[in-house]
Symmetry: C2
Subunit: 296 residues, 2 copies
């Protein structure tokens, strides 16, 4: 039976992963640049801010911690949210969940618990791709499942990066199930797509949701490895590009790509919609928006 | 009976209004600045681009002309769309219309025709408010109605501007119906609101939809006067501010306001949603997005 112990374990993992990611990013932002100075900006560190979820309903609660690094030398805007929220699902959120999964029991018992980590990094150097990572566990009285994914968002595409990113993800997926990579890569291609522009928002990655094989330990283990794969796949790409020279043309392309990113997140992103529907802290829900954007 | 003749009259008016607005804006951008130079930028003019609506369904058609002025001395990005489209309403669009109005006949006959003008102006000087105007006629085999509105979006609020803008609108509304201003001002306050931020997107104006008194001439006449009121209310505000000095702090506030504007348009705007649902040219649907924005 999946209950409090599993919830605690998942929540703890999301926090541990957050701490490791923040440490890795701060190391890049500070130490590494002592050896290879690229600009005279001061290095920045993460700042943490707690928020509580208040819907006006006593049954609802929980909250999160948003860690943000803004205006850094390498990292222009990074947000890492870890949250654990619970309560009664709003009718809108119930509808969108039962539309995906057949959980008729939800109607009689709208309680839910959800915890996850979500990260978006917008980089100063337009030659360094932006990145998104998200993993979460969702629980209702009659069901539980994991979801998440990571996708790479370069302004200027680089085949070597794309190949390396996907190969790293594939290797980790293969450790769990030979079908996962193909399945979750296709899902990412479908999900990280902007229908009204008929373009992908980036070069893809993996996306999964409603993952429940019936074996919680197994599915949790895969979810954890998505976080590991993110670190293994992204850090080398940052190191490869952050100190390269860029032109105003590169920056303009980045600003326009960021416009597309904002469109995707505001119009289609499942996490953003869920956040807007469940009344979670708005700064946390919208921390994924780029620092700047252009539609010109 | 409201038919082709009324449709033609409405469409012609939207085009005439577009031409007058473009002329007034170009006069400000060019002639006026010969007398009062504020910067050494070249004045810009409107460029027009036609687009056709293609949904893949032979019954659907029409299109529009998008007039844009970009990178001007006073006007940083202005888009004025005039369109006339027709065909079968997509199920999503049908649903959102019948949810508002009781038109059961729509289910049996999904044909529609719609024409309108929509304008958004984002200004270079952060002391000059951005503006939005939209008026339209909507027709189905069993019903017709007008809709529209205009609202002022200052980055730095100015009570004198707000009062002047609202008084000018009120005067025009009062010529038609003593209740219109109060009713349509409240509707604007409700409509131009960003629920997830719990803030208004600007300082309001008027908004109306589903306007059908049964007297087409009368409702058309009011709709035309909303266009007139826009010119009378906005041009003096531009003239008052465009040559004022501004600081980087003003510009930053403007960029952040533009972020809110983008959020509103992508998440809530009825016209944007309708455009995304009916498969209209995406550049026309999203021309209202600001030239630049900031979420930092």
């Amino acid at each position: 039976m999946v209950g409090q112990q599993q919830k605690d374990q998942a929540e703890k993992w999301f926090k541990d992963l957050r701490d490791r990611i923040c440490k890795e990013f701060e190391t890049l932002e500070t130490d590494h640049l002592k050896l290879f100075p690229i600009n005279d900006m001061a290095p920045k560190r993460f700042e943490k801010k707690s928020s509580t979820r208040e819907t006006g309903d006593k049954r609802d609660g929980g909250g999160g911690v948003m860690a943000t690094l803004k205006g850094g030398r390498i990292f222009e805007k990074v947000g890492v949210n870890v949250s654990a929220v619970y309560g009664d699902l709003a009718p809108e959120a119930q509808k969108s969940i039962t539309a995906r999964k057949s959980i008729p029991e939800l109607k009689d018992d709208p309680r839910f618990w959800a915890s996850g980590i979500s990260l978006v990094a917008h980089m100063r150097n337009p030659l360094t791709p932006a990145i998104h990572l998200n993993t979460r566990m969702f629980w209702t009285p009659h069901a539980w499942w994991f979801g998440g994914g990571t996708d790479l968002n370069p302004s200027i595409e680089n085949d070597e990066d794309t190949t390396f990113f996907h190969q790293t993800l594939k290797k980790k997926c293969d450790d769990h199930n030979q079908n996962y990579y193909e399945k979750f890569k296709s899902w990412a291609d479908e999900y990280f797509f902007i229908p009204h522009r008929k373009v992908a928002r980036g070069v893809g990655g993996i996306f999964f949701d409603d993952l429940c094989t019936g074996n919680w330990e197994k599915d949790f283990s895969f979810t954890k490895d998505v976080g590991e794969a993110f670190l293994e796949a992204y850090i080398p790409i940052v190191k490869k590009h952050y100190s390269k020279d860029w032109t105003p043309e590169h920056k303009k392309i980045q600003e326009q790509k960021r416009g597309l990113y904002a469109e995707f997140n505001l119009v289609y992103d499942r996490g953003t919609k869920f956040g807007l529907q469940t009344g979670h802290n708005i700064d946390a829900v919208l921390m994924s928006l780029p620092p700047t954007a252009e539609w010109f």
